[in-house]
Symmetry: C2
Subunit: 255 residues, 2 copies
């Protein structure tokens, strides 16, 4: 019986060359398809919601696949997770949930939006255990300035200034940022600054460029009130740097 399945996937991006399948490289999609093909005993190809870059993490990536296979849907997560685990410990990717969806449902095309978190460790020293999971920014950041800059980014705008070269060509660079918040908390050896951003869609490297722009606002390099002009200019060079991949987490996909 042909069935269509939607997966919720968590992964540590450190050991992967990103989401998308590539020959001779370890990718999340490739690892997942290989394990699913063994578990389902048919060749499986998945459609992922977000093509995350190398080093980028996910708590709630989604992917769908369909096929005629025997294993009960609720057994797929454990079977795949056991296959991809390492000696004596869990693996670096894990299916959190597998659910039956109507034929025709597509993880990417049917998505109504996504949410990302960008995590910054702000302090002179950072525990080595965080190096793959945070952007380390040494000098003190002004979180209030970052919040003010974030307010100018929220809403519907042409975000060409936050688009890196090299992505899939898009019909339009207009997107809606529904939420963009900056939260800080005290942690061992510094402060944790979390940027949460939700929107209907994102351009190539858009979240990392927004994070880099907010960091530069926090450093006093970009005045918050300059942000509307930067957006209006549609000029990538006027926005901040592209923050590194290891701080970025795909947290949720909306349907």
């Amino acid at each position: 019986m042909e069935r269509n399945i939607l997966l919720t996937i968590e992964y540590d991006g450190t050991g992967f060359s990103g989401w998308q399948r590539q020959p001779d490289r370890r990718t999340v999609q490739g690892t997942l398809e290989e394990a699913l093909s063994r578990v389902c005993a048919i060749p499986v190809q998945v459609d992922g919601t977000s093509r995350t870059d190398a080093g980028v993490h996910a708590l709630g990536q989604r992917a769908s696949f369909h096929g005629d296979f025997g294993i009960p849907v609720e057994r797929i997560p454990l079977a795949v997770n056991n296959l991809v685990s390492e000696a004596g410990k869990d693996g670096d990717m894990r299916i959190r949930k597998a659910q039956l969806v109507p034929e025709g449902f597509h993880a990417r095309y049917d998505s109504k939006g996504k949410k990302y978190r960008y995590r910054i460790h702000n302090g002179e020293e950072m525990p080595v255990f965080l190096r793959n999971y945070r952007y380390h920014v040494r000098g003190a950041l002004d979180a209030a300035a970052m919040c003010r800059a974030a307010e100018h980014i929220t809403g519907t705008h042409d975000f060409a200034c936050f688009q890196a070269a090299g992505g899939t060509p898009r019909k339009t660079t207009v997107r809606t940022i529904r939420q963009l918040t900056v939260n800080e908390s005290a942690v061992d050896g510094g402060r944790l600054i979390d940027i949460d951003v939700a929107g209907d869609g994102f351009l190539y490297n858009m979240v990392r460029i927004i994070a880099g722009t907010l960091v530069e606002a926090g450093q006093g390099k970009i005045p918050p009130e300059a942000v509307p002009g930067i957006i209006a200019s549609r000029d990538r060079r006027r926005a901040g740097h592209t923050a590194p991949p290891q701080g970025l987490y795909l947290t949720e996909v909306y349907y």
Copy 2:
């Protein structure tokens, strides 16, 4: 001018084949000596306090070295840390402190004891981000039983039952455990159980076997009141399993 230096070192053990220098393997000692030799412009050999195994972490490893070199002592940490950092992020080892100590001081021989932490994630699911940093135990552990078992281990005993084969031969297997505590707290997707153990010295794999024994006490396999008999037996086979390396952290060395 000949100087003797004591270092405090933090490392993520995941990417190292343990502390001890080995040909053709990436080890903490080897990486540290290579960087120190460049920074000090002389061949440097360090004496570490604890020969941690592959996968074991350290927050407060100590190592000493002496030599006639020019760089001011306080500049050594930053110079070494910059050398061992990776592209776009910090490295997986870091010197936290370098201090001048009297000639004749030795990081290992002068140590009066050490403290370790063993970290367990107890719950059906564990975030993938913790797989290199926790021991994942699925079924619910009885932390009160673990505490009662720990009380029987505290004190001065012949700990032959907690010694793995294959370590450096020791004159005696009598050691003093000054402190052994079990603490639990709620975390994402389960409970974090931390075992803290301080003592004057430890046999090969002793902390990991104590952790495995406490886990089995928490699972009801080893009754806490059976622990004195297990210690008296001096029989490794009667103690619990050796808990995996990724849960173990060397936290402090006492002088």
